[in-house]
């Protein structure tokens, strides 16, 4: 299925860009006339994925985060967030709620939030090469005319 509208965004892995990334994605999705809750779910899920890139993939070194958003005919939004960072050795472990490699202040709930706030999430990762997280969510509020 081909996207009816799409956007790309590349940002540096600075924590100040977390806010920009989630606001930019939600502004793009706003064209589908989502509910406040749907939009907030998307912002939160994007924030988790981008934070993972900064905190884990690049571990506070500078790298690029590649974001692609596609809107499909049936009002499904697909958000792909990709990094060229360290990769995840054990995806199952990383996705387990409360697991974190940085236990000081991180709750270990990033993937749990993404899973709970989106309809579908997929994670592909190669150690040393990077990680791609794909989030899918159907916007129910509006019938396309």
């Amino acid at each position: 299925m081909k996207a009816v509208n799409e956007m790309k965004l590349t940002i540096e892995s600075r924590s100040v860009n977390e806010s920009f990334a989630r606001v930019a994605v939600s502004a793009f999705v706003a064209g589908l006339d989502p509910t406040v809750e749907e939009l907030s779910d998307i912002k939160t899920a994007v924030s988790e994925a981008v934070t993972n890139c900064i905190v884990h993939a690049y571990q506070n070194t500078m790298g690029r985060i590649y974001i692609w958003v596609g809107i499909f005919e049936d009002s499904t939004v697909k958000i792909r967030i990709r990094d060229r960072g360290c990769g995840i050795a054990n995806i199952e472990q990383a996705m387990t709620p409360l697991f974190t490699s940085q236990p000081q202040e991180r709750a270990g709930l990033g993937f749990a939030v993404m899973q709970s706030f989106c309809d579908k999430i997929s994670v592909r990762s190669t150690a040393g090469k990077g990680t791609t997280v794909t989030l899918m969510k159907k916007i129910e509020s509006r019938q396309r005319c």
Binding site: S15, V16, E18, S19, R22, V36, E37, S40, D41, K43, T44, S47, E48, T51, I54, V55, E105, R106, A107, L109, G110, A112, V113, S116, F117
Partner: protein
């Protein structure tokens, strides 16, 4: 300023505002902890009335402050939480750790 603190020996209230994420969390945490460690109050109240967004970084913030207050023999209260922030807090079971008042509730 993402946090304004009013404090005495009994009650420290941290008025949080704006967006709470990994970026803003560090500053907020350091500000609150400096006051808590200095005064060791009986109760810490985190006021979310003017928080427009929170992701799971906020969970770490609340949990960490809960642990700190617990270690000092004090209590933690959370108030003014919006529906979207409550959704994130409930996912983490924070409503089981601390008393949470939502926006618009009497206190």
């Amino acid at each position: 300023m993402p946090v304004r603190i009013e404090a005495d020996k009994n009650l420290t209230t941290a008025y949080l505002s704006g967006e709470i994420d990994h970026h803003s969390c560090v500053f907020i945490r350091d500000e609150i902890d400096a006051t808590i460690n200095r005064l060791a109050p009986l109760e810490l109240c985190l006021d979310f009335m003017h928080v427009s967004f929170m992701d799971s970084s906020g969970i770490g913030l609340v949990m960490g402050r809960y642990k700190l207050m617990h270690s000092l023999g004090g209590r933690l209260r959370v108030r003014g939480v919006s529906p979207s922030t409550m959704k994130v807090m409930k996912l983490a079971g924070l409503d089981l750790l601390a008393k949470i008042d939502c926006k618009g509730e009497k206190r």
